[in-house]
Symmetry: C2
Subunit: 241 residues, 2 copies
Amino acid sequence: MWKSGVTLARALRPRSAPRLGSKASSRASKPAAACHLLWSSETQFSQAGQPKDYALPNASWSQGMLNLYNEFVEKSKDGTWKRIPSYRHSLDHIPDSVKLEGEKVQKDTRLFLRNLDEEGLGFEYVMFLNPSEKRMVTVYQPGPYLEGHPGFTHGGSTAAMIDSTIGSCAIFVAGRVMTANLSIDFKNPIPLGSVVLVDSKVDRMEGRKVFLSCQVWSADGQTLHAEATALFIQLASLTRR
Amino acid sequence: MWKSGVTLARALRPRSAPRLGSKASSRASKPAAACHLLWSSETQFSQAGQPKDYALPNASWSQGMLNLYNEFVEKSKDGTWKRIPSYRHSLDHIPDSVKLEGEKVQKDTRLFLRNLDEEGLGFEYVMFLNPSEKRMVTVYQPGPYLEGHPGFTHGGSTAAMIDSTIGSCAIFVAGRVMTANLSIDFKNPIPLGSVVLVDSKVDRMEGRKVFLSCQVWSADGQTLHAEATALFIQLASLTRR
Protein backbone atom coordinates (compact mmCIF):
# COMPACT_ATOMS: atom_id res chain seq x y z
CA MET A 1 0.00 0.00 0.00
CA TRP A 2 0.96 3.59 -0.47
CA LYS A 3 1.52 4.63 3.08
CA SER A 4 3.16 8.00 3.18
CA GLY A 5 4.11 11.08 1.32
CA VAL A 6 7.70 9.98 1.67
CA THR A 7 6.99 6.72 -0.10
CA LEU A 8 4.94 8.50 -2.71
CA ALA A 9 7.72 10.99 -3.22
CA ARG A 10 10.13 8.12 -3.69
CA ALA A 11 8.21 6.45 -6.45
CA LEU A 12 7.38 9.74 -8.06
CA ARG A 13 10.85 11.15 -7.75
CA PRO A 14 12.28 13.11 -10.65
CA ARG A 15 13.32 10.53 -13.17
CA SER A 16 16.81 10.14 -14.47
CA ALA A 17 17.67 10.98 -18.03
CA PRO A 18 15.59 8.77 -20.31
CA ARG A 19 17.39 5.82 -21.77
CA LEU A 20 16.59 6.96 -25.26
CA GLY A 21 17.99 10.40 -24.58
CA SER A 22 21.49 9.44 -25.58
CA LYS A 23 20.25 8.62 -29.05
CA ALA A 24 18.59 11.98 -29.38
CA SER A 25 19.46 13.89 -32.47
CA SER A 26 20.42 17.53 -32.34
CA ARG A 27 17.02 18.45 -33.68
CA ALA A 28 15.09 20.54 -31.25
CA SER A 29 11.99 19.10 -29.68
CA LYS A 30 8.66 20.71 -30.25
CA PRO A 31 7.93 23.38 -27.70
CA ALA A 32 5.74 22.37 -24.81
CA ALA A 33 3.37 25.13 -25.78
CA ALA A 34 2.39 23.12 -28.80
CA CYS A 35 1.12 20.36 -26.57
CA HIS A 36 -2.55 19.76 -26.13
CA LEU A 37 -4.61 17.44 -24.09
CA LEU A 38 -6.69 15.30 -26.39
CA TRP A 39 -9.23 14.11 -23.89
CA SER A 40 -10.05 15.75 -20.65
CA SER A 41 -12.92 16.73 -18.48
CA GLU A 42 -13.51 19.56 -20.93
CA THR A 43 -14.25 17.10 -23.71
CA GLN A 44 -17.46 18.00 -25.47
CA PHE A 45 -19.72 15.13 -26.41
CA SER A 46 -22.05 15.28 -29.33
CA GLN A 47 -24.44 12.68 -27.96
CA ALA A 48 -26.93 13.53 -25.26
CA GLY A 49 -25.61 13.07 -21.76
CA GLN A 50 -22.23 12.05 -20.45
CA PRO A 51 -21.08 8.45 -20.68
CA LYS A 52 -20.31 6.70 -17.40
CA ASP A 53 -16.87 7.56 -16.03
CA TYR A 54 -15.17 4.36 -14.83
CA ALA A 55 -12.12 6.09 -13.33
CA LEU A 56 -13.84 6.58 -9.99
CA PRO A 57 -13.79 4.38 -6.87
CA ASN A 58 -16.10 1.37 -6.80
CA ALA A 59 -16.72 -1.42 -4.28
CA SER A 60 -13.99 -3.62 -5.79
CA TRP A 61 -11.19 -1.18 -5.04
CA SER A 62 -8.87 -2.30 -2.26
CA GLN A 63 -7.76 0.04 0.50
CA GLY A 64 -4.37 0.24 -1.19
CA MET A 65 -6.02 1.38 -4.42
CA LEU A 66 -8.13 3.93 -2.57
CA ASN A 67 -5.11 5.26 -0.69
CA LEU A 68 -3.19 5.93 -3.90
CA TYR A 69 -6.26 7.41 -5.57
CA ASN A 70 -6.81 9.74 -2.61
CA GLU A 71 -3.19 10.86 -2.59
CA PHE A 72 -3.37 11.86 -6.24
CA VAL A 73 -6.74 13.54 -5.78
CA GLU A 74 -5.12 15.56 -2.98
CA LYS A 75 -2.25 16.46 -5.27
CA SER A 76 -4.73 17.53 -7.92
CA LYS A 77 -6.17 20.29 -5.78
CA ASP A 78 -3.45 22.75 -6.74
CA GLY A 79 -3.64 21.77 -10.40
CA THR A 80 -0.31 19.91 -10.46
CA TRP A 81 -2.09 16.67 -11.29
CA LYS A 82 -5.41 16.10 -12.98
CA ARG A 83 -7.66 13.03 -12.93
CA ILE A 84 -8.50 11.75 -16.41
CA PRO A 85 -11.99 10.32 -16.92
CA SER A 86 -12.31 6.91 -18.58
CA TYR A 87 -15.15 5.48 -20.64
CA ARG A 88 -16.21 2.12 -22.02
CA HIS A 89 -16.24 3.16 -25.67
CA SER A 90 -13.08 4.29 -27.45
CA LEU A 91 -14.67 7.13 -29.34
CA ASP A 92 -16.10 8.67 -26.17
CA HIS A 93 -12.53 9.72 -25.37
CA ILE A 94 -12.10 11.68 -28.56
CA PRO A 95 -13.28 15.29 -28.62
CA ASP A 96 -15.42 16.38 -31.53
CA SER A 97 -12.59 18.63 -32.70
CA VAL A 98 -10.44 15.68 -33.75
CA LYS A 99 -13.13 13.23 -34.79
CA LEU A 100 -13.04 12.00 -38.35
CA GLU A 101 -15.96 12.69 -40.63
CA GLY A 102 -18.75 10.29 -39.82
CA GLU A 103 -17.09 8.83 -36.74
CA LYS A 104 -19.72 7.77 -34.25
CA VAL A 105 -19.50 5.77 -31.07
CA GLN A 106 -20.07 2.10 -31.89
CA LYS A 107 -22.01 0.71 -28.98
CA ASP A 108 -21.15 -2.87 -29.97
CA THR A 109 -17.45 -2.30 -29.41
CA ARG A 110 -15.62 -1.72 -26.14
CA LEU A 111 -12.33 -0.22 -25.13
CA PHE A 112 -10.05 -3.20 -24.49
CA LEU A 113 -9.27 -2.29 -20.89
CA ARG A 114 -12.94 -1.65 -20.03
CA ASN A 115 -14.47 -4.73 -21.63
CA LEU A 116 -15.60 -6.74 -18.58
CA ASP A 117 -18.99 -6.10 -17.04
CA GLU A 118 -18.30 -6.96 -13.43
CA GLU A 119 -16.26 -4.56 -11.33
CA GLY A 120 -12.92 -5.81 -10.06
CA LEU A 121 -12.45 -8.78 -12.41
CA GLY A 122 -10.30 -7.03 -15.00
CA PHE A 123 -8.45 -3.73 -15.14
CA GLU A 124 -9.50 -1.32 -12.42
CA TYR A 125 -7.62 1.89 -13.04
CA VAL A 126 -7.49 5.64 -12.87
CA MET A 127 -5.10 7.95 -14.69
CA PHE A 128 -3.64 11.23 -13.48
CA LEU A 129 -1.90 13.70 -15.74
CA ASN A 130 0.88 16.08 -14.79
CA PRO A 131 0.82 18.53 -17.71
CA SER A 132 3.95 20.49 -16.82
CA GLU A 133 6.04 17.30 -16.56
CA LYS A 134 4.37 15.69 -19.61
CA ARG A 135 3.75 12.76 -17.37
CA MET A 136 0.87 10.31 -17.03
CA VAL A 137 0.50 8.02 -14.05
CA THR A 138 -2.02 5.19 -13.79
CA VAL A 139 -3.01 3.46 -10.59
CA TYR A 140 -3.98 -0.11 -11.54
CA GLN A 141 -5.56 -2.95 -9.63
CA PRO A 142 -5.31 -5.97 -11.95
CA GLY A 143 -8.11 -8.43 -11.23
CA PRO A 144 -8.34 -12.24 -11.28
CA TYR A 145 -9.40 -12.40 -14.95
CA LEU A 146 -6.00 -11.13 -16.11
CA GLU A 147 -4.09 -14.27 -15.20
CA GLY A 148 -1.02 -15.71 -16.86
CA HIS A 149 1.16 -17.81 -14.59
CA PRO A 150 -1.13 -18.91 -11.74
CA GLY A 151 -1.62 -16.03 -9.31
CA PHE A 152 0.08 -13.40 -11.47
CA THR A 153 -0.85 -11.09 -14.32
CA HIS A 154 -0.37 -12.33 -17.88
CA GLY A 155 2.53 -10.69 -19.71
CA GLY A 156 -0.01 -9.45 -22.24
CA SER A 157 -2.10 -7.76 -19.56
CA THR A 158 1.00 -6.07 -18.16
CA ALA A 159 1.79 -4.91 -21.68
CA ALA A 160 -1.75 -3.59 -22.02
CA MET A 161 -1.44 -1.57 -18.79
CA ILE A 162 1.79 -0.06 -20.03
CA ASP A 163 0.58 0.59 -23.57
CA SER A 164 -2.57 2.28 -22.32
CA THR A 165 -0.70 4.59 -19.94
CA ILE A 166 2.15 5.45 -22.24
CA GLY A 167 -0.23 5.92 -25.17
CA SER A 168 -2.39 8.28 -23.16
CA CYS A 169 0.71 10.25 -22.25
CA ALA A 170 1.60 10.49 -25.95
CA ILE A 171 -1.91 11.67 -26.73
CA PHE A 172 -1.52 14.48 -24.25
CA VAL A 173 1.39 15.83 -26.24
CA ALA A 174 0.54 14.97 -29.82
CA GLY A 175 -3.18 14.42 -30.18
CA ARG A 176 -4.21 11.24 -32.00
CA VAL A 177 -1.28 8.84 -32.17
CA MET A 178 -0.58 5.21 -32.94
CA THR A 179 1.99 2.92 -31.32
CA ALA A 180 5.05 2.30 -33.51
CA ASN A 181 7.25 0.48 -31.02
CA LEU A 182 6.81 -0.79 -27.49
CA SER A 183 9.71 -2.49 -25.69
CA ILE A 184 9.14 -3.89 -22.21
CA ASP A 185 11.62 -5.31 -19.71
CA PHE A 186 9.71 -7.45 -17.24
CA LYS A 187 11.45 -7.39 -13.85
CA ASN A 188 9.16 -8.90 -11.23
CA PRO A 189 5.77 -10.58 -11.65
CA ILE A 190 2.66 -8.66 -10.62
CA PRO A 191 0.37 -10.52 -8.18
CA LEU A 192 -3.31 -10.52 -9.14
CA GLY A 193 -5.24 -8.15 -6.90
CA SER A 194 -2.20 -6.06 -6.01
CA VAL A 195 -1.93 -2.35 -6.78
CA VAL A 196 0.69 -0.95 -9.11
CA LEU A 197 1.63 2.49 -10.30
CA VAL A 198 2.46 2.87 -14.00
CA ASP A 199 4.50 6.04 -14.37
CA SER A 200 5.07 7.29 -17.93
CA LYS A 201 6.72 10.38 -19.34
CA VAL A 202 7.37 11.97 -22.72
CA ASP A 203 11.14 12.09 -23.16
CA ARG A 204 11.29 13.97 -26.44
CA MET A 205 9.62 14.63 -29.78
CA GLU A 206 11.15 14.61 -33.24
CA GLY A 207 8.71 15.81 -35.84
CA ARG A 208 5.73 13.46 -35.62
CA LYS A 209 7.63 10.98 -33.44
CA VAL A 210 6.94 10.92 -29.71
CA PHE A 211 9.45 9.03 -27.54
CA LEU A 212 8.36 7.95 -24.07
CA SER A 213 9.51 5.83 -21.16
CA CYS A 214 7.64 4.14 -18.36
CA GLN A 215 8.10 2.24 -15.12
CA VAL A 216 5.73 -0.05 -13.26
CA TRP A 217 6.11 0.11 -9.47
CA SER A 218 4.41 -1.73 -6.67
CA ALA A 219 2.14 0.53 -4.60
CA ASP A 220 4.67 0.71 -1.79
CA GLY A 221 7.39 1.85 -4.19
CA GLN A 222 9.61 -1.08 -3.19
CA THR A 223 9.33 -3.31 -6.26
CA LEU A 224 10.03 -2.38 -9.86
CA HIS A 225 7.78 -4.70 -11.87
CA ALA A 226 8.65 -3.51 -15.37
CA GLU A 227 10.31 -0.81 -17.46
CA ALA A 228 9.37 0.19 -20.98
CA THR A 229 10.20 2.54 -23.80
CA ALA A 230 7.87 3.44 -26.63
CA LEU A 231 7.66 5.33 -29.87
CA PHE A 232 4.33 6.76 -30.98
CA ILE A 233 3.59 8.43 -34.30
CA GLN A 234 1.34 11.42 -34.55
CA LEU A 235 -1.38 10.89 -37.15
CA ALA A 236 -0.76 13.67 -39.66
CA SER A 237 -4.35 14.05 -40.73
CA LEU A 238 -5.61 13.98 -37.19
CA THR A 239 -3.47 16.47 -35.34
CA ARG A 240 -5.39 18.86 -33.21
CA ARG A 241 -7.22 21.52 -35.09
CA MET B 1 -8.75 -14.86 -46.27
CA TRP B 2 -6.28 -17.63 -46.74
CA LYS B 3 -6.98 -18.65 -50.26
CA SER B 4 -4.30 -20.96 -51.47
CA GLY B 5 -1.34 -23.08 -50.59
CA VAL B 6 0.79 -20.56 -52.43
CA THR B 7 -0.41 -17.77 -50.18
CA LEU B 8 0.01 -19.93 -47.15
CA ALA B 9 3.53 -20.79 -48.21
CA ARG B 10 4.26 -17.12 -48.63
CA ALA B 11 3.26 -16.15 -45.14
CA LEU B 12 4.90 -19.22 -43.68
CA ARG B 13 8.10 -18.85 -45.63
CA PRO B 14 11.43 -19.42 -43.90
CA ARG B 15 12.14 -16.39 -41.77
CA SER B 16 15.21 -14.25 -41.78
CA ALA B 17 17.38 -13.73 -38.73
CA PRO B 18 15.68 -11.54 -36.13
CA ARG B 19 16.55 -7.89 -36.43
CA LEU B 20 17.15 -7.45 -32.75
CA GLY B 21 19.29 -10.55 -32.36
CA SER B 22 22.48 -8.65 -31.75
CA LYS B 23 20.81 -6.33 -29.26
CA ALA B 24 19.21 -9.20 -27.46
CA SER B 25 22.39 -11.20 -27.21
CA SER B 26 24.15 -8.33 -25.52
CA ARG B 27 21.42 -7.95 -22.96
CA ALA B 28 22.49 -8.88 -19.47
CA SER B 29 20.57 -11.59 -17.73
CA LYS B 30 17.72 -10.15 -15.69
CA PRO B 31 15.15 -11.67 -13.46
CA ALA B 32 12.14 -12.62 -15.50
CA ALA B 33 8.72 -11.38 -14.62
CA ALA B 34 5.76 -12.14 -16.83
CA CYS B 35 4.94 -15.77 -16.41
CA HIS B 36 3.82 -18.30 -18.98
CA LEU B 37 2.37 -21.69 -18.85
CA LEU B 38 3.42 -25.03 -20.10
CA TRP B 39 0.60 -26.66 -21.91
CA SER B 40 0.52 -29.43 -24.38
CA SER B 41 -1.73 -32.15 -25.63
CA GLU B 42 0.10 -34.52 -23.32
CA THR B 43 -1.23 -32.61 -20.32
CA GLN B 44 -2.47 -34.98 -17.66
CA PHE B 45 -5.26 -33.68 -15.48
CA SER B 46 -5.64 -34.71 -11.89
CA GLN B 47 -9.22 -33.55 -11.61
CA ALA B 48 -12.07 -35.61 -12.94
CA GLY B 49 -12.95 -34.87 -16.56
CA GLN B 50 -11.35 -32.64 -19.11
CA PRO B 51 -11.87 -28.88 -19.04
CA LYS B 52 -13.54 -27.34 -22.08
CA ASP B 53 -11.16 -26.83 -24.99
CA TYR B 54 -11.76 -23.36 -26.49
CA ALA B 55 -9.39 -23.81 -29.43
CA LEU B 56 -12.09 -25.33 -31.59
CA PRO B 57 -14.47 -23.68 -34.07
CA ASN B 58 -17.55 -21.95 -32.71
CA ALA B 59 -20.40 -19.98 -34.27
CA SER B 60 -18.49 -16.69 -34.01
CA TRP B 61 -15.66 -17.80 -36.28
CA SER B 62 -15.67 -16.13 -39.67
CA GLN B 63 -15.16 -18.06 -42.88
CA GLY B 64 -11.64 -16.63 -43.05
CA MET B 65 -10.89 -18.00 -39.57
CA LEU B 66 -12.33 -21.39 -40.47
CA ASN B 67 -10.35 -21.52 -43.71
CA LEU B 68 -7.05 -20.97 -41.90
CA TYR B 69 -8.00 -23.40 -39.16
CA ASN B 70 -8.87 -26.06 -41.73
CA GLU B 71 -5.62 -25.54 -43.60
CA PHE B 72 -3.60 -26.13 -40.46
CA VAL B 73 -5.72 -29.11 -39.45
CA GLU B 74 -4.99 -30.57 -42.89
CA LYS B 75 -1.28 -29.92 -42.39
CA SER B 76 -1.48 -31.63 -39.02
CA LYS B 77 -2.47 -34.95 -40.52
CA ASP B 78 1.12 -35.93 -41.26
CA GLY B 79 2.32 -34.72 -37.86
CA THR B 80 4.13 -31.64 -39.20
CA TRP B 81 1.80 -29.37 -37.23
CA LYS B 82 -0.16 -30.05 -34.10
CA ARG B 83 -3.21 -28.25 -32.72
CA ILE B 84 -2.76 -27.05 -29.12
CA PRO B 85 -5.81 -27.15 -26.84
CA SER B 86 -6.71 -24.04 -24.86
CA TYR B 87 -8.55 -23.71 -21.56
CA ARG B 88 -10.10 -21.00 -19.45
CA HIS B 89 -8.02 -21.54 -16.34
CA SER B 90 -4.27 -21.03 -16.36
CA LEU B 91 -3.39 -24.07 -14.31
CA ASP B 92 -5.36 -26.41 -16.58
CA HIS B 93 -2.54 -25.92 -19.08
CA ILE B 94 0.15 -27.15 -16.75
CA PRO B 95 0.88 -30.88 -16.70
CA ASP B 96 1.06 -32.51 -13.29
CA SER B 97 4.74 -33.21 -13.92
CA VAL B 98 5.66 -29.54 -13.64
CA LYS B 99 3.04 -28.36 -11.15
CA LEU B 100 4.31 -26.80 -7.98
CA GLU B 101 3.44 -28.41 -4.69
CA GLY B 102 -0.09 -27.50 -3.73
CA GLU B 103 -0.92 -25.82 -7.04
CA LYS B 104 -4.61 -26.21 -7.77
CA VAL B 105 -6.85 -24.67 -10.40
CA GLN B 106 -8.40 -21.50 -8.99
CA LYS B 107 -11.88 -21.34 -10.45
CA ASP B 108 -12.24 -17.66 -9.59
CA THR B 109 -9.41 -16.68 -11.91
CA ARG B 110 -9.29 -16.81 -15.68
CA LEU B 111 -6.59 -16.91 -18.30
CA PHE B 112 -6.38 -13.34 -19.62
CA LEU B 113 -7.09 -14.23 -23.24
CA ARG B 114 -10.08 -16.42 -22.31
CA ASN B 115 -11.78 -14.12 -19.84
CA LEU B 116 -14.93 -13.12 -21.74
CA ASP B 117 -18.03 -15.29 -21.54
CA GLU B 118 -19.58 -14.62 -24.93
CA GLU B 119 -17.98 -16.16 -28.00
CA GLY B 120 -16.54 -13.78 -30.54
CA LEU B 121 -16.29 -10.64 -28.40
CA GLY B 122 -12.66 -11.04 -27.35
CA PHE B 123 -9.79 -13.21 -28.48
CA GLU B 124 -10.89 -16.14 -30.63
CA TYR B 125 -7.81 -18.19 -31.36
CA VAL B 126 -6.22 -21.53 -32.02
CA MET B 127 -2.53 -22.39 -31.83
CA PHE B 128 -0.61 -24.87 -33.95
CA LEU B 129 2.87 -26.11 -33.11
CA ASN B 130 5.53 -27.21 -35.55
CA PRO B 131 7.92 -29.10 -33.27
CA SER B 132 10.72 -29.67 -35.78
CA GLU B 133 10.86 -25.96 -36.65
CA LYS B 134 10.39 -24.86 -33.01
CA ARG B 135 7.59 -22.73 -34.29
CA MET B 136 4.18 -21.76 -32.93
CA VAL B 137 1.50 -20.19 -35.08
CA THR B 138 -1.74 -18.72 -33.76
CA VAL B 139 -4.77 -17.94 -35.87
CA TYR B 140 -6.55 -15.01 -34.18
CA GLN B 141 -9.87 -13.34 -34.76
CA PRO B 142 -9.83 -10.25 -32.51
CA GLY B 143 -13.37 -9.28 -31.54
CA PRO B 144 -15.10 -5.94 -30.94
CA TYR B 145 -14.23 -5.82 -27.22
CA LEU B 146 -10.52 -5.42 -27.96
CA GLU B 147 -10.77 -1.90 -29.33
CA GLY B 148 -8.19 0.85 -29.12
CA HIS B 149 -8.30 3.37 -31.96
CA PRO B 150 -11.92 3.19 -33.19
CA GLY B 151 -12.38 0.14 -35.41
CA PHE B 152 -8.95 -1.36 -34.66
CA THR B 153 -7.37 -3.52 -31.99
CA HIS B 154 -5.83 -1.82 -28.97
CA GLY B 155 -2.02 -1.88 -28.95
CA GLY B 156 -2.25 -3.78 -25.69
CA SER B 157 -4.45 -6.48 -27.21
CA THR B 158 -2.04 -6.85 -30.12
CA ALA B 159 0.76 -7.18 -27.56
CA ALA B 160 -1.26 -9.82 -25.72
CA MET B 161 -1.74 -11.85 -28.92
CA ILE B 162 1.99 -11.71 -29.58
CA ASP B 163 3.03 -12.41 -25.99
CA SER B 164 0.72 -15.39 -25.75
CA THR B 165 1.99 -16.95 -28.98
CA ILE B 166 5.66 -16.27 -28.49
CA GLY B 167 5.46 -17.37 -24.84
CA SER B 168 3.80 -20.62 -25.83
CA CYS B 169 6.55 -21.19 -28.35
CA ALA B 170 9.16 -20.66 -25.61
CA ILE B 171 7.32 -23.08 -23.37
CA PHE B 172 7.52 -25.78 -26.02
CA VAL B 173 11.30 -25.58 -25.95
CA ALA B 174 12.06 -24.72 -22.34
CA GLY B 175 9.17 -25.73 -20.11
CA ARG B 176 7.92 -23.11 -17.66
CA VAL B 177 9.32 -19.74 -18.61
CA MET B 178 8.84 -16.07 -17.82
CA THR B 179 8.99 -13.09 -20.18
CA ALA B 180 12.09 -10.96 -19.66
CA ASN B 181 11.75 -8.68 -22.69
CA LEU B 182 9.17 -8.13 -25.38
CA SER B 183 9.79 -5.59 -28.15
CA ILE B 184 7.08 -4.95 -30.72
CA ASP B 185 7.18 -2.91 -33.92
CA PHE B 186 3.63 -2.06 -34.91
CA LYS B 187 3.41 -1.76 -38.72
CA ASN B 188 -0.25 -1.63 -39.71
CA PRO B 189 -3.34 -1.50 -37.50
CA ILE B 190 -5.44 -4.65 -37.18
CA PRO B 191 -9.13 -4.18 -37.99
CA LEU B 192 -11.51 -5.59 -35.39
CA GLY B 193 -13.09 -8.79 -36.70
CA SER B 194 -10.31 -9.51 -39.16
CA VAL B 195 -8.20 -12.67 -39.05
CA VAL B 196 -4.47 -12.57 -38.44
CA LEU B 197 -1.74 -15.15 -38.25
CA VAL B 198 0.83 -14.72 -35.47
CA ASP B 199 3.90 -16.69 -36.49
CA SER B 200 6.58 -17.19 -33.82
CA LYS B 201 9.84 -19.12 -33.76
CA VAL B 202 12.65 -19.89 -31.35
CA ASP B 203 15.78 -18.37 -32.82
CA ARG B 204 18.30 -19.65 -30.30
CA MET B 205 18.90 -20.60 -26.69
CA GLU B 206 21.75 -19.54 -24.43
CA GLY B 207 21.67 -21.39 -21.15
CA ARG B 208 18.30 -20.57 -19.62
CA LYS B 209 17.65 -17.75 -22.09
CA VAL B 210 15.27 -18.37 -24.98
CA PHE B 211 15.35 -15.85 -27.84
CA LEU B 212 12.37 -15.71 -30.17
CA SER B 213 10.94 -13.63 -32.98
CA CYS B 214 7.45 -13.21 -34.31
CA GLN B 215 5.46 -11.67 -37.13
CA VAL B 216 1.77 -10.82 -37.35
CA TRP B 217 0.32 -11.22 -40.85
CA SER B 218 -3.11 -10.59 -42.25
CA ALA B 219 -4.91 -13.80 -43.21
CA ASP B 220 -4.24 -13.21 -46.91
CA GLY B 221 -0.52 -12.82 -46.25
CA GLN B 222 -0.51 -9.36 -47.84
CA THR B 223 -0.17 -7.12 -44.79
CA LEU B 224 2.48 -7.27 -42.09
CA HIS B 225 0.74 -5.91 -39.00
CA ALA B 226 3.59 -6.24 -36.49
CA GLU B 227 6.98 -7.74 -35.80
CA ALA B 228 8.40 -8.65 -32.41
CA THR B 229 11.38 -10.13 -30.62
CA ALA B 230 11.35 -11.58 -27.15
CA LEU B 231 13.59 -13.00 -24.48
CA PHE B 232 12.21 -15.58 -22.10
CA ILE B 233 13.95 -17.06 -19.09
CA GLN B 234 13.58 -20.70 -18.21
CA LEU B 235 12.54 -21.17 -14.59
CA ALA B 236 15.40 -23.18 -13.13
CA SER B 237 13.31 -25.22 -10.76
CA LEU B 238 10.63 -25.90 -13.31
CA THR B 239 12.43 -27.04 -16.42
CA ARG B 240 10.74 -29.74 -18.37
CA ARG B 241 11.18 -33.16 -16.83
